[in-house]
Every structure is written in C-alpha cells, then in structure tokens.
C-alpha cells in the first residue's frame, strides 16, 4: 500500500493506493474505488470500474497534471513525500493576490494608506472584464507590488496589507 497526496484547488487529499495484479484499490476518506487501467496511447487510458469502462485523458505541464474522465476535469499537483510545500493559503498574512491573469488597469491606494473592509485597492482587467481587488479586512497598505499597465499572473501577490487588530488605533 502506498499513500498518494494530490493537491487540487488549494486542497490536499490523501489516497491509499494498493495493487493486486492488474487491479488497483484506491481508498479516499470513507470511499473505496476498484479499477483497472489500460494505457491506449500517450495521455489516453481506459478505466474499468464497476462493470463500466471510461475514457481518461491526461496531460501535464509546469508541475500540474490535468485529468479528464466522464465530464470531470481535475487540475492537481502531486505532493512529493517528504518534501511537502508550505501551506499555500496566505489569506491571513495580508497578501492580496490577482484573482486571474490579466493587466492591472488602476492602482487606487498607496503604501501607508489606511483601508476599510471591502475598499477597492486595485483593478485587474482580463478578457475585457474588470475585477476589483478589495481589502479583506481593515488594515494599512504595507506594499504595492504592481503598477497600472503591469501584466500579472493569476494568484500573484499584488499588494500587502498589515491588518489592524481590534484595539489598535487606526
């Protein structure tokens, strides 16, 4: 039995994978799947499970793996044993991230500004749509990492906020 950890959408899940001949058993949480896998060609396999056969497509790029089976598409990163990366979730550190890849069209605050919850900080545009990055809580702008006109990747840190704690003088 081996343990496989896959991270998808910021959430890691543990799978117990064991093999008996050409049959595999996968346990995840309370569920157990039994399946057989036949690779047909690069990136295409047949998955037999529960008396039904499904086509599976897979591709990998930049450390991410994509799998499609029966209308479900997964985008995941295998988590290496012994080398697990740090938390990933940075919501409480005050980092503000670009919601999508795009172009920064406006920066509405400067370093040192005090902002309230929901205040628009900057505007990112992609595919002709505006997305407003807002303060998740009250705070002071610690850093602005981008300027208007900059291209940003989805998830890139665009600004940092020092949260104002209850009792702090704003």
């Amino acid at each position: 039995m081996s343990e496989v950890v896959l991270r998808a959408g910021g959430v890691a899940a543990r799978y117990e994978v064991s093999r008996d001949g050409d049959a595999w058993t996968v346990r995840v949480g309370p569920r157990t799947h039994r399946l057989r896998l036949t690779l047909l060609e690069s990136g295409v396999a047949l998955v037999e499970s529960d008396g039904r056969t499904h086509l599976l497509h897979a591709a990998a790029a930049g450390g991410r793996t994509f799998v499609h089976l029966d209308g479900v598409t997964l985008d995941f990163e295998p988590v290496r044993r012994g080398g697990e990366r740090g938390g990933g979730a940075t919501d409480d550190t005050g980092d503000l991230r670009a919601p999508m890849p795009g172009v920064v069209t406006q920066v509405l605050v400067r370093v040192g500004d005090t902002v309230r919850t929901g205040q628009p900080l900057l505007i990112v545009e992609a595919m002709k749509m505006e997305h407003v990055v807002r303060a998740g809580g009250p705070g002071v702008v610690r850093a602005v990492r981008v300027a208007a006109g900059d291209q940003v990747d989805g998830g890139a840190v665009v600004a940092e906020l020092a949260p104002v704690m209850p009792g702090d003088t704003p």
């Binding site: 057989r36 896998l37 036949t38 690779l39 396999a45 990998a60 499609h68």
Partner: protein, 516 residues
C-alpha cells in the same frame, strides 16, 4: 463577391470561413499576435497579421482591417459578432472602400445599434418598451436625474452595447455614481464609446429573441424565437429554440413585432429583435442586434436555414422567396435545439476568467451534436479577449432528448490545461429546474449560486493511481538507468510512463505480451 475578409477571431471566424468555403468563396483571416497559433487563421485561404494584441489596435482598428482587405484582394467583409460588427463607422468605411459589407447598411446600424434610438423606433412601430431614459439624457447629471424618475433597481447599459459589457445593475441611488464610472470605462474599452442609458430592472423575466431576415426590397421574415434567459453577469450562457415558455400565440405576437420593427427600420440582412417576457407573458422590446448572434446555431438546427450563408446571399443582393402578398414564408421549425457556451472561466468563483494553454483537446460529435469551436491544441487562450471558446449545440426531436444529448456531449468534451465551465454547463442542463423549463433570468443565481463543482470520485481515484505509477516508474528508472526497464526508453527525471508510452496495462510489469 469572390474573397471574404473575416474581421473577427475565434469560433465565429471558423464558422464564417466554413460557410464561405461551402459557397466557393475565398477567405482571408486577420489575427492579432495572441491568435497567431489559433485555429481560424489556419483554415482561411489567406491570413494577414494585425501586428499587435490590444483589441483597439487590432480587431477594433478600422484602418488596419481595411488595409488587410486591400492587401489580400478581398472584395467583401464579414464582421462576425462583437468587435466592429455593429459599428456604423466600420460599415460605412467598408462601403466607401468599394467593398461589400455583410450586414445592414451603416445608417440602419446607427439607427438600431444605439439602444436609445432603438427604443424610439420600437415605439414608432407600436411595440411596447421598458420604462427608461430618453435619447437626450446623456451626462451623468442627466442620468442621475432620470434614475430618480425611473426608480431602483435599474440597469445601466452601454448605448453601443451588447454582450453584457458596460452593463450594471444598480440597487440604490448611492451606488449610481460608481457604477456609472465603471460602466463608462468598460463601455469605452469594449466599444470605443461610453454613452450609457438607464432602464427599469425587471426582476425575473424570460429573455426571448426573434431571428429576422430581410432583403433589400423590404421583404422581412421571422425565423422563430430563441430563449436566452440562462445568463450570468448579464451574458447568455445557454440558449434554445423553441422557448419552453413561449406559446404559439405569444410566438406569433413576437414575430409580428419583430418584423414590424425590421420594416420600420428599413432593415436589410440578418438581425435579431430581443424582448423581455414577464411571468404573465407581458412582453417588452429590449433591443435590436444588427448582426449575427452568438446563438444563431439553435435557429439553424430547427429551421434548416444556414444563417451565415443567408447573410452572404442577402449581402450579394439576393431576395428572400416571397409569396403573392409580398410576405416571405419561414420554414417550419423541427425538433428542439439547445446551445451551451463553453468559456474559459471558473464557475465556482464568480465566473472569473481563466485563460491558459490548451494541452489536450477532444471535441464531441455524433448524431444531433454540433460543435462550433475556435480551439486548437497547442494554442494558448489569451487574456486579451472574450472568454468564450466554443459552443456545443444539441438537436433532437424533443427538449428532453436535446438536454440529455447535450449533457452527454458536454461530458465527452475534453479540454486540458485551461479551466472551463464544461462541468458547470453539464450540471445546469441536468438540473430538474432546467428540465422543467424554469429558465428565467434568475435561474443561475437561484439554483447555482453556491455551486462548487461535481463529485470527482472515479476521476480522482484514477489520478491517484496514475501518480503512483509515475512515482514508482521514476524511482525504478532512476535506480536502474539504461537497463531497459523503461518502456519509454528515456529514463530520467522527465520519465513519465502514462503520458509518453505506447499501449500497456498498468500494474503489469511491461507492455502486453511481455510476460506471457
């Protein structure tokens, strides 16, 4: 008419190129830098680079498009939808350059394309309109005053608009200034013009539109309706024909109103008249779309009319078949067609755009399944343009069968590398409320506001097995390099059995037959 320049990109460029090919016309594609590796430039007979990426410098740049037409010897321009399709200025410039414009004359576009003007036109044709502001009310101060009269909630719309751009719902007066500023910015970026209008917001309605064809002799005909109520961010997501909500009586009322508006406007070529229909089946004129619609295929499937070929015929001066009374008889609709728009967006997180690379692509086909797609494996969906990638259209004898066929087709559509809304679309067409025809404009927020994704059971289990096999293979290959243990013949860090090797069964020690 010999050579058609397609002044657009993506799936609609593919669609127009296909229609031209059937008519024996030569085609010219134009492309901005991010579309160099897209599908459509490869399908055209000739292609001209526009040498930039910003829409304003490429697909919205009249001078560059006309220059491309000149350089490629095109005598006709098809604008597709969006971009300059409803630009009277572009239509006029095309005519002045001595080229055929596939669409209504420039003055008709100007008349109906401006939503404020169109409201006036509809009233003249005796068609009811939604309460809103007048043509003279243009400044923020005018609009703010008009808002007091119309009342909240109301809708801000770009006068030049379409596709939900520059559109905002405003619930109270204090939100109006910010919404006006933001709508103006978006309208300017999308249409090059920031004029806005206000209309009362009708809370829960059906969005129903009628397809119209009109020739230069004044003969106009209606080709039935499309129901387009399943929307997010005021953009259509799923359309169908016929509407599950429209009765035969309502259909004939809407068709008569649409033809009256087309005739009053002196309309020529293909166009669409949009209406809002409330729960009591009271209906109001919404706007005229002086172009081909994204959702035109559902009408094509049920009527058998190729609307793009009809556009080209009408632009060449052909007439619609007319009976003795000068009216044209529309073909009888057959069966039911549904269209889903496949978009690069994250339906579980506010439908935010998700541009990215296309690593693998398998598109569904089969009886009654049509895919209008602009995708190609190896191309990267750019950040600069609309997130719509393709449309899946399912046609069957009944609505129920069409919905089932659609769900199956969506499940077989494989796009890897770029996140799409395929799973979301499938969940929608499988939902009981959709099956029951409860397709109002609030359908998605009511039934899918908290949607986070489908259960990924077997797909995730298979992914875990693949990862395990890959890890084991890597370890093996690293431990015994060059011993022939690797079916791929290339041991090392990038060794990846399930993405690279030929047929073999996982769990066996080698390819089939190796250990008999």
């Amino acid at each position: 008419m010999r050579t058609v320049l397609v002044a657009n990109r993506g799936e609609i460029a593919v669609r127009v190129i296909g229609a031209c090919r059937e008519l024996g016309l030569r085609t010219v594609a134009v492309y901005a830098d991010p579309d160099r590796d897209a599908l459509y430039p490869r399908l055209a007979d000739d292609r001209v680079p526009l040498g930039a990426s910003d829409p304003l410098d490429t697909y919205l740049h009249v001078g560059r498009l006309l220059d491309a037409a000149r350089r490629s010897g095109a005598d006709t321009v098809h604008p597709g939808y969006g971009f300059l399709a409803e630009s009277a200025e572009f239509a006029a410039a095309v005519r002045e350059a001595g080229l055929v414009w596939v669409g209504p004359p420039a003055d008709v576009i100007a008349r109906v394309g401006d939503k404020t003007e169109a409201r006036r036109l509809a009233r003249r044709a005796g068609v009811p309109v939604v309460a809103g502001c007048d043509a003279e009310e243009t400044s923020d101060a005018d609009l703010t005053a008009a808002a007091g009269r119309i009342g909240f909630p109301l809708m801000i719309k770009a006068a030049a608009g379409g596709g939900g751009r520059g559109m905002r719902r405003v619930n109270e007066a204090s939100d109006l200034p910010g919404a006006l500023a933001s709508a103006r910015r978006e309208a300017r970026a999308a249409f090059g013009r920031d004029a806005l209008l206000l209309e009362r917001h009708l809370d829960e309605v059906h969005h129903v539109e009628v397809q119209v064809l009109a020739d230069a002799t004044g003969v106009a005909m209606a080709l039935g309706e499309r129901e387009c109520s399943v929307q997010r961010r005021h953009q259509k997501l799923i359309e169908e024909s016929p509407s599950p909500f429209v009765t035969a009586e309502l259909r004939s009322q809407l068709e008569r109103a649409a033809v009256a508006i087309a005739e009053t406007a002196g309309y020529v070529n293909a166009g669409t008249v949009e209406f809002l229909v409330d729960a009591d089946r009271r209906w109001y004129f919404l706007e005229v779309n002086a172009r081909l619609q994204v959702e035109h295929p559902v009408t094509e499937m049920v009527t058998g009319v190729d609307l793009v070929k009809a556009q080209l015929h009408l632009a060449a001066g052909d007439r619609l078949p007319a009976d003795g009374s000068g009216r044209s008889r529309a073909p009888r609709a057959r069966g039911h067609a549904i269209e889903c728009r496949v978009c690069a967006e994250d339906a579980a997180h506010g439908f935010r755009p998700t541009p990215g690379p296309i690593l693998a692509l398998v598109e569904p086909h089969g009886p009654g399944v049509r895919v209008d797609s602009g995708l190609r494996a190896g191309w990267r969906v750019p950040v600069e343009y609309d997130p719509m990638l393709a449309k899946v259209i399912a046609h069957a004898a009944t609505r129920e069968d069409a919905a089932t066929r659609m769900a199956d087709a969506l499940g077989r559509y494989v796009i890897l590398g770029c996140q799409t809304n395929l799973e979301f679309l499938r969940a929608v067409v499988r939902h009981d409320a959709f099956r029951d025809g409860e397709t109002t404009t609030r359908f998605l927020e009511r039934h899918f506001g908290a949607w986070t994704g489908e259960a990924d059971g077997l797909a995730a289990a298979a992914a875990a097995v693949l990862t395990q096999v890959r890890d084991a293979g890597t370890a093996e290959a690293t431990a015994a390099p060059g011993e022939g243990g690797s079916p791929a013949g290339s041991p090392g860090r990038d060794w990846d059995p399930w993405l690279r090797v030929g047929p073999w069964r996982m769990g066996m020690s080698g390819p089939p037959g190796a250990h008999e």
